[in-house]
């Protein structure tokens, strides 16, 4: 075997003054970076395998370990950076496709950071959410353009309009689709439990819903994707809503592949495929080659669920997203979920992840505008996803026009994810993106659910504070209210697509 040219990405620094040779690091590293030399009675390490997940540094009882990004100090070059060179070395060794996980890490701009929020002064009192009501309750689903009433002889009103099924959220934040298979049983359980406890929804992803999770059905949105894993009538019945997954922001136009080694007994039952077989989701749904086909599937699902559940359609934000979203709404979807190019994934070809799709900020603004222009904005709710990092991002998205957002990466970070971006290796040291029983037990769902509920509570409170500052006490008055947004450092064209004014205007 020839010499590998790829250099270590991380340096593992162990402070000999602090190390007590307890070997916690040895037992916790699934990449075998740390080892114990019995003879020397010393912990040793192999930095080449380190992925920088920080598990050892976090668990080291004496804080003896520091993981640092290793330089590879190639000759300085703005084009041929060390990442570029290392990637070429890797491909030259394997002839393979570069893989990545989580969201696009190359984007230098987050447009959310170029958008600033408003607050009241003098002419309009700001509101203190600790002392006054502040309402975040959100309804997702199709709404009629008008409410019709009928009146009895005494003039007593009654509803002539029957509302389409709605999802009721206590906060406009849901957990995005992450399948059991991509994430562990315990991670899945944490998300489902937290959604139920906080009054919002988790999304099953495309990998089915294990029977153990059926009690969480009232807080689950289940996906029907191109692989149709785990889809049967019970799956549709047990959920609160059904989402047709067309695309994913991290890898628009690409399908999915769960390697057979991850398909154990439980996943096999959930996905309804044999143990050990690869679970392959084709790039397109092979029964959806057009918008008419999508309409058929939407209505098949509506029929199957007796028109009692909202049907969502999730697409990746691509160039023509506004027109596509309009078509989806006209095809009968009750919810359209748009996933921006910074959305996460368990595995995607690096080049796809980093180069395909458009930012959610523009996609969302364009979709909301288009649906309003066509007078069909009421007919479907819009859910934005793809890289929401904080409550401020959420507030900005809602003010741009989203009814709610999906958070994926942020939820995983709450569970302990350190964004090492190696989900696809199946060796997640945090017990999240792995099926290895030695690793999955590291995520105790009691702790996971508690941390997720805390995150939702913290963000919701911050959203209330920001709304209160604007003098708004109901989320419906923030939604689509771009008057409360101003842009900084954006071109006229960007401002006009976002539909916001520049700061100072």
């Amino acid at each position: 075997m020839s010499k590998r040219l790829v250099q270590a990405e991380f340096n593992v620094e162990r402070d000999p003054e602090r190390c007590i040779q307890c070997q916690v690091c040895v037992r916790q590293c699934s990449n075998q970076v740390h080892a114990y030399d019995e003879e020397a009675e010393q912990v040793t390490c192999d930095e080449a395998s380190c992925v920088g997940c920080q598990r050892c540094a976090t668990l080291c009882p004496t804080g003896a370990i520091t993981i640092k990004k290793a330089p590879p100090d190639f000759a300085p070059d703005n084009n041929w950076t060390s990442d570029v060179i290392q990637n070429i070395y890797r491909q030259a060794e394997t002839g393979g496709v570069l893989l990545s996980a989580m969201g696009n890490d190359t984007a230098k701009t987050s447009w959310w950071d170029n958008i600033l929020l408003n607050a009241s002064q003098v002419t309009n009192p700001s509101i203190d959410p600790l002392r006054e009501p502040m309402e975040l309750t959100t309804f997702l689903g199709a709404k009629p353009n008008a409410v019709e009433l009928s009146f009895d002889d005494q003039g007593g009103p009654s509803l002539a309009t029957k509302l389409a099924p709605q999802l009721v959220l206590s906060t406009p934040i849901m957990f995005s689709a992450m399948s059991y298979g991509a994430i562990s049983y315990n991670a899945f359980e944490s998300l489902a439990r937290a959604a139920g406890q906080y009054g919002t929804f988790a999304n099953s992803g495309e990998g089915g819903l294990h029977k153990d999770f059926w009690p969480h059905g009232p807080n689950m949105i289940v996906q029907v994707a191109s692989g149709r894993f785990g889809v049967d009538i019970d799956y549709l019945k047990v959920a609160a809503a059904v989402e047709i997954k067309i695309g994913q922001g991290a890898k628009p136009g690409i399908g999915g592949h769960l390697p057979g080694e991850k398909v154990d007994e439980r996943i096999s039952q959930t996905r309804m495929i044999p143990v050990g077989s690869d679970a392959i989701s084709p790039a397109p749904h092979h029964d959806i080659y057009s918008i008419e086909d999508l309409r058929q599937l939407i209505y098949s699902l509506k029929e199957a669920t007796r028109y009692q559940k909202p049907i969502s359609v999730k697409i990746a934000a691509v160039h023509n997203v506004a027109a596509i979203a309009s078509g989806i709404v006209r095809a009968g979807a009750d919810i359209v979920a748009i996933d921006g190019y910074k959305g996460g994934t368990g595995a995607a070809p690096t080049m796809i992840r980093n180069n395909v799709g458009i930012p959610i900020e523009f996609a969302l603004a364009a979709v909301d505008d288009r649906l309003r222009q066509e007078g069909i904005r009421n007919q479907a709710s819009v859910v934005a996803c793809g890289g929401f990092r904080s409550s401020a991002d959420v507030v900005k998205a809602i003010a741009l026009g989203a009814d709610a957002v999906y958070i994926g990466t942020a939820a995983l970070v709450a569970l302990g994810c350190h964004l090492c971006q190696k989900c696809y290796t199946g060796k997640c040291n945090w017990g999240i993106a792995t099926q290895d029983p030695y690793l999955t037990r590291r995520l105790n769902p009691d702790i996971g659910a508690r941390r997720l509920v805390n995150l939702l509570r913290g963000w919701s409170h911050e959203i209330k504070e920001m709304m209160g500052g604007m003098g708004i006490n109901a989320i419906e008055s923030l939604r689509g209210n771009r008057e409360h947004l101003r842009g900084v450092g954006l071109s006229d064209r960007e401002l006009s697509i976002l539909g916001i004014k520049a700061a100072g205007e």
Partner: protein, 147 residues
């Protein structure tokens, strides 16, 4: 009485319980000093047992009818009739190791000095047992057992 319950489904074999047990029974109560200077004298009173992916921490179960108390010829081991805790008095222990032999869970170990037995004392002096307080995954919990 209080019992330490191990949830093996969430035990991740990090063995931080052992580390912190040792420290809490050290003179210095300092991680680095305890390991550097006292490791030769003291042992953790909790042990993580592992087979494949499954692991869990074992320490004295404070049995209702403790075999160790039965076997102890000096009365160093005794069971508090009120709280149900099985306690060990090193002053009376002669290091005969009968308790080590009869303990069904292997929870009693020899002190490194080789003179007396060492077993879980539920960290009665400090309140919350160190193993419970420091388990990063809440795989060790303390539960009040009313039976």
């Amino acid at each position: 009485m209080k019992r330490i319950v191990a949830k093996e489904e969430y035990c991740m074999n990090c063995r931080l319980c052992e580390v912190h047990c040792l420290v809490s029974h050290s003179r210095s109560k300092d991680l680095i000093k305890a390991f550097r200077q006292e490791r030769g004298e003291i042992v953790p009173r909790i042990t993580v047992e592992r087979l494949g992916a499954v692991s869990f921490a074992v320490q004295c179960r404070h049995c209702d009818e403790p075999a160790c108390v039965e076997a102890c010829m000096t009365g160093a081991l005794s069971r508090d009739p009120v709280t149900g805790e099985v306690t060990h008095d090193p002053q009376r222990c002669v290091g005969c190791w009968m308790c080590v032999m009869v303990c069904p869970t292997g929870a009693i170990r020899r002190d490194k000095s080789g003179h007396v037995a060492a077993k879980c004392d539920l960290c009665l002096e400090t309140g919350t047992p160190a193993c419970v307080a420091n388990c990063p995954n809440e795989a060790l919990v303390i539960e009040e057992d009313n039976d």
